[in-house]
């Protein structure tokens, strides 16, 4: 499968979903898309029809506001009906709310309050070790989210228990709601921080599919400690006027912007 093409198609779905629902966290969706595509179309052992398989890989979207990206991927992978998602997302009485919810096939954990996912992933990885299963656990955090102290408790525990079946991603797009991460609360030395806590650290261009895939492969080979992949991404990646703007954290495109976004993605798709 051409994962780059898939990532562009998923981006189009995200734009469509947010535009039709009139809400969503577009910037973080577009920065995390490539990570999700590599995990769900290549790396992870998950089957929409076997979500009760104890050996399945586990995924936790700790930056739960990027739910639109996750739902577009899950719908495309056949975890649930895409039409139902698009018709009802965030509407009255819908089960598809604006954060991951485990009533929905494919979602392991409810998230949305930042700073929970990594602790949960540590628990899942620990259970895998206890039960001698060889599934892997993946968690994705935002860089603004790394200010939550609970993450650093989870990071300490992950290293303490040598959870080499655990891979964390930091979606390092350098923006959060109020501005850049450096202005809001220093986050520049993510690599040094995680390394100091005992993790294997891999820093990559985070919207590059090959780099993501290589990093996940390296994480699988790393023994005795968990791996963090610092994915240096672009918030809003793929749509010129959304890229790198804090204001697009949860702005909804106008009709003209919506058309423009689809056009840009189509153009990039044609160039592949």
């Amino acid at each position: 499968m051409n994962l780059e093409a898939k990532a562009l198609d998923i981006r189009k779905d995200i734009i469509e979903l947010i535009y039709s629902a009139g809400c969503g966290h577009i910037g973080g969706d577009l920065s995390v898309t490539d990570i999700l595509v590599d995990l769900y179309y290549k790396q992870m052992n998950v089957d929409p029809n076997k979500m009760d398989d104890p050996n399945r890989d586990r995924f936790v979207l700790s930056k739960g506001h990027s739910v639109e990206a996750l739902y577009c991927v899950l719908a495309d992978r056949g975890f649930f009906d895409k039409k139902e998602l698009f018709d009802t997302y965030s509407k009255h009485l819908s089960k598809y709310i604006g954060h991951p919810n485990n009533k929905i096939n494919g979602v392991e954990m409810n998230t949305g309050s930042l700073g929970h996912g990594l602790s949960v992933a540590v628990g899942m990885a620990m259970a895998g070790k206890m039960d001698k299963r060889d599934y892997r656990v993946y968690a994705v955090m935002g860089d603004g989210e790394m200010a939550e102290g609970s993450n650093w408790e989870a990071i300490t525990a992950g290293a303490h228990y040598g959870l080499d079946n655990l891979t964390a991603f930091v979606d390092r797009n350098r923006l959060q709601i109020s501005g850049t991460t450096e202005e809001v609360m220093t986050a520049d030395d993510q690599e040094e921080r995680w390394a100091a806590f005992g993790w294997n650290v891999i820093s990559i261009p985070g919207n590059n599919m090959e780099a993501i895939d290589n990093a996940v492969e390296e994480a699988k080979k790393t023994k005795g400690k968990p791996t963090v992949i610092i994915a240096n991404t672009t918030k809003g990646c793929g749509v010129s006027f959304i890229e790198n703007k804090a204001a697009w954290h949860h702005k909804v495109p106008t009709e003209a912007e919506y058309q423009q976004a689809l056009k840009e993605l189509d153009e990039r798709r044609a160039q592949l």
């Binding site: 509407k91 604006g98 609360m185």
Partner: protein, 309 residues
């Protein structure tokens, strides 16, 4: 339709007062935009502290500032403020009795379809259960202003919850009856009393008007002061009207209605019906859709009163 949200009023009052009182400090946790605190942050950079996405630190730092004579206002979504930083609120603010004002924004189900992580439907219970912690849910922008001006004068902990969007005025400009820790009588009546708080006071008022048309005389109490609650007003209503209906944007346990029922049971038993959110994640929707679904809007209140009276 009023367009000024309660949070905007808080921003404006703090902006004005902080010019005179340099000890006023506003703290946000990547929440200044949703808090309506952008202009404050821009105009009072020396009296504004950004802590990043770290609500526990937000409240701990606030308590430290207060312990050194500052007057901190920690402004963050009510959901995270009332649960994530609950222990800091309990130990560093309530127990230590520090002068920290916790302002819970986008409270209740304001965040609608974002779901239970973002709803603060248990904040009266969590915050109200702590000794020393006062809990206020003002109704409209005028009462919010009166409340903020009032708590600025004291040096005790308080948790104030407001909603995300502008709500209809309950009171009129220049005519805002307000006495701290006394319920406001919005409308007098002799058959039934509706006790409401926060955004739902407007619905209680509208319901009372509709009930008047049906010949039911309805008293409406704005119980913005949930803790300390106005016992006297509750006992008086229990003695003078045949039914009390409470209405709140909160779950059924440990909310304002539970407190009203405790007081009436001990002092003047009367039938008390609690209209609340369910003991479950609420259905998906915007606040108004959620209120309607659970019968908390004017229509639902009228239905309950006519059935129960």
């Amino acid at each position: 339709m009023n367009k000024i949200a309660n949070k905007q009023v808080i921003n404006d009052v703090l902006l004005e007062e902080s010019a005179k009182d340099k000890d006023i400090i506003v703290l946000c946790s990547d929440s200044r935009g949703s808090a309506g605190m952008k202009s404050y942050a821009e105009q009072r950079p020396e009296q504004f502290v950004e802590v990043g996405i770290a609500e526990q630190n937000l409240v701990g730092i606030s308590a430290g500032l207060a312990a050194c004579g500052k007057k901190p206002f920690a402004v963050s979504p009510a959901s995270f403020l009332s649960t994530r930083s609950m222990e800091q609120a309990k130990v560093d603010v309530a127990y230590s009795n520090t002068n920290v004002k916790l302002i819970g924004i986008s409270g209740g189900v304001s965040y609608g379809a974002l779901g239970m992580t973002h709803h603060s439907a248990t904040d009266i219970a969590t915050m109200g259960s702590m000794p020393n912690m006062r809990v206020y849910l003002p109704s409209d922008r005028f009462q919010t202003e009166a409340l903020i001006r009032s708590v600025l004068k004291d040096e005790k902990p308080a948790y104030i919850r407001i909603g995300r969007n502008a709500v209809e005025d309950v009171y009129e400009e220049g005519n805002v009856p307000f006495e701290l820790d006394k319920a406001t009588l919005v409308k007098d009546g002799t058959d039934v009393t509706i006790i409401a708080c926060g955004e739902l006071v407007g619905d209680a008022k509208a319901a009372a008007e509709e009930l008047a048309g049906k010949g039911i005389s309805t008293r409406v109490l704005d119980m913005y002061c949930i803790k300390p609650i106005d016992k006297d007003a509750i006992i008086k209503a229990a003695k003078e009207t045949k039914l009390i209906v409470t209405v709140e944007e909160h779950t059924m346990y440990g909310g304002m209605g539970s407190m009203v029922a405790q007081i009436t049971a001990a002092n003047a038993p009367v039938k008390v019906i609690n209209l609340t959110l369910p003991d479950a994640p609420v259905v998906t929707g915007k606040s108004r859709e959620i209120f309607k679904y659970y019968g908390l809007d004017a229509e639902g209140i009228v239905k309950t009163v006519t059935e129960q009276l």
